[in-house]
């Protein structure tokens, strides 16, 4: 019997030694998902454009060491739990690209995806009862967060180049 193997999507890695906590990635992400694509206009948009990446605190190793952060977004997991739990069937895995897709039209804001995402990568628009995630800038030419990062902390790597403790090269 034949088995279909789904493509494993490339991964966006954040090299924490380079992360300055500047949040350029968050800003660029929200702008990339705005109507206008321009900062001043985007701030006026209703609904306000949302970032899909979060800069999170790793704490510090002691009083004299730098407070470290990591920019984290949806991992587009090989076996996504969000796909399993979405009660509306609105979260799907594209076997060709390996990307997870959230259908905003189907979302009812039950937050089941939030309940299961092991990375806490779901972003919730609470006022609109809408759950979203990093969509890998689908339909756009560049990855906004990777392009915006001033230290190149964020890089796109092939899945098989990434293991715990191993960095991929730019």
């Amino acid at each position: 019997m034949s088995t279909r193997i789904a493509h494993v999507a490339p991964v966006i890695v954040c090299r924490v030694d380079r992360c300055l906590s500047c949040r350029s990635c968050e800003l660029a992400c929200a702008l990339a998902h705005s109507q206008s694509g321009e900062l001043v206009a985007a701030l006026q948009e209703v609904p306000i454009p949302l970032k899909r990446i979060r800069v999170l605190s790793l704490g510090s190793q002691g009083p004299l060491t730098r407070h470290r952060t990591i920019a984290l977004q949806c991992r587009h997991c090989a076996e996504p739990l969000c796909v399993e739990v979405c009660i509306a069937g609105g979260v799907t895995k594209d076997e060709a690209s390996g990307l997870v897709r959230f259908d905003e039209e189907r979302c009812v804001g039950c937050w089941s995806c939030t309940m299961v995402c092991p990375f806490g990568a779901i972003i919730r628009a609470r006022d609109r009862l809408l759950a979203i995630h990093c969509d890998r800038c689908e339909g756009r030419e560049i990855l906004a967060c990777v392009a915006a990062c001033p230290t190149k902390a964020l890089v796109l790597c092939d899945a098989d180049e990434v293991e715990e403790g191993v960095q991929c090269d730019t």
Binding site: M1, C77, V108, C113
Partner: protein
């Protein structure tokens, strides 16, 4: 290879997909007693509310059976299984031979004997139920919901959005008592009270008042003040569900509260699997066997069953009580053991800011996460769930788990003490640079 699946809801659909990912050539037959089964049962209350229309109920497209190359026998009732000949027997003597059989017949709403089947009395389980309730709600003013569990509360909220006044009759001291505790329930009720929903706790429905074959009221136990009945046009009975084990009677397939399954979703009979609301599994939080009749569990069990039926070994770590819902003013997530007995070896940590509408409760046992309630600070819920699933030892950072600042990053910072055996971690551990 002939795969036969009885039931086409969450578990059945997940099994079809898992089988087709593994075996493109075998024949897949699905038998369902519903005419159009590809909808989400969880969305029915949103349909009641008018938030979505009938097309919004679809869980898979109408092309699903065609795309999956499934022979779908709809509006067909399966009646029994001949386990020695490996044949599923359907109504009117139709026989479907199988090599691998999955029983995903789900569960049915429990109706107390005191409630007759008259116009105005409903359960909320199928699309037909929701359509009938919606039609009656057009000209109704007062609804009573019997049962304060998640289905009852969702139904109550749905009807209130249509402008009905709703009274929820709950046997416990507070609503959602299987899922959450009194503190969390208070926040939920504060939000719902403003939406025309009243709750009578410590109460039950003793009987119904019927005129001309139609419901006009319910009598309460204990009786309402001044006696008499509570007038209503609609009664929704939401008192839980019972596994549909009828199919396996006399077959030797073992059934307690549900069909008994192992971690591959196999029953005690060779080549027969069970998944979803009909199945009894290990509970990953309590370590005991139970039925967790939840959509999420059904999907995961169906997927597990499908892979194993197709020869791909896959283990299910056990089901969990796990619920997520948004009510006005209350985003609510809970899972696992949420109301441990006082004299047990469970440890409970609480962040109680009820006046701010925030409540967090973490339940631990032997330094492992066993349960959680979150009201209005739910973003890290999945990270905490993964700690439960991985049975991680969290000693020393219990307080960090409850903090508003808790995130996946904290787990990385704490040296990766959990196992992520199914997901790729693409972040570098701290200290690498």
């Amino acid at each position: 290879m002939r795969y036969v699946i009885v039931g086409s809801s969450a578990a059945g659909i997940a099994a079809v997909e898992a089988i087709r990912r593994s075996d493109e050539r075998g024949s897949v037959t699905v038998v369902s007693d519903e005419p159009s089964p590809l909808y989400s049962r969880c969305l029915l209350s949103y349909y009641l509310a008018g938030t979505i229309d009938a097309s919004g109920l679809a869980y898979r497209s109408s092309e699903f059976f065609g795309e999956m190359r499934v022979d779908a026998r709809l509006s067909t009732k399966a009646e029994s299984v001949d386990v020695s000949r490996q044949v599923l027997v359907c109504e009117r003597g139709a026989e479907i031979p199988y090599d691998q059989l999955l029983i995903a017949t789900g569960a049915s709403a429990k109706i107390p004997r005191s409630i007759p089947a008259v116009k105005g009395v409903f359960v909320l389980r199928t699309i037909a139920d929701a359509v009938a309730i919606r039609a009656t709600a057009e000209s109704a003013h007062h609804a009573v919901v019997l049962g304060g569990g998640l289905i009852g509360m969702k139904a109550a909220f749905g009807l209130s959005k249509r402008g009905l006044h709703v009274t929820v009759i709950v046997r416990s001291r507070y609503v959602l008592s299987q899922m959450i505790d009194a503190d969390a329930a208070r926040i939920v009720m504060d939000g719902l009270r403003e939406h025309g929903i009243s709750v009578l706790t410590g109460a039950d429905v003793a009987g119904t008042d019927v005129r001309d074959g139609r419901l006009i009221g319910v009598t309460l136990e204990p009786p309402a003040e001044g006696g008499g009945s509570l007038p209503c046009d609609i009664l929704i009975v939401a008192k839980g569900v019972q596994a549909n084990c009828g199919l396996v009677e006399g077959t030797g397939i073992e059934c307690h509260a549900g069909i008994v399954t192992d971690s591959t979703q196999r029953t005690n009979i060779e080549n027969v699997f069970a998944a979803g609301d009909v199945a009894e599994t290990l509970d990953a939080a309590t370590g005991e066997r139970s039925v967790n009749a939840l959509w999420t569990c059904a999907v995961q069990q169906g997927k597990t069953a499908g892979f194993n039926m197709a020869g791909r070994e896959r283990r299910y770590d056990g089901s969990l009580g796990m619920n997520s819902i948004n009510f006005p003013g209350a985003d609510l997530i809970s899972f696992g053991v949420t109301n441990p007995p006082a004299d047990s070896d469970y440890e409970v940590l609480v962040d109680r800011r009820v006046d701010q509408g925030v409540y967090k409760k973490l339940v631990l046992r032997e330094n492992r996460v066993k349960g959680l309630i979150l009201v209005n600070r739910i973003d890290a819920a999945g990270v905490l769930l993964s700690l439960l699933r991985s049975r991680a030892d969290v000693s020393g950072f219990e307080d960090a788990l409850l903090s508003d600042r808790f995130s996946y990053a904290q787990i990385l910072a704490l040296g990766g003490r959990t196992e992520w055996n199914r997901y790729r971690t693409a972040s570098n551990p701290i200290g690498s640079g």
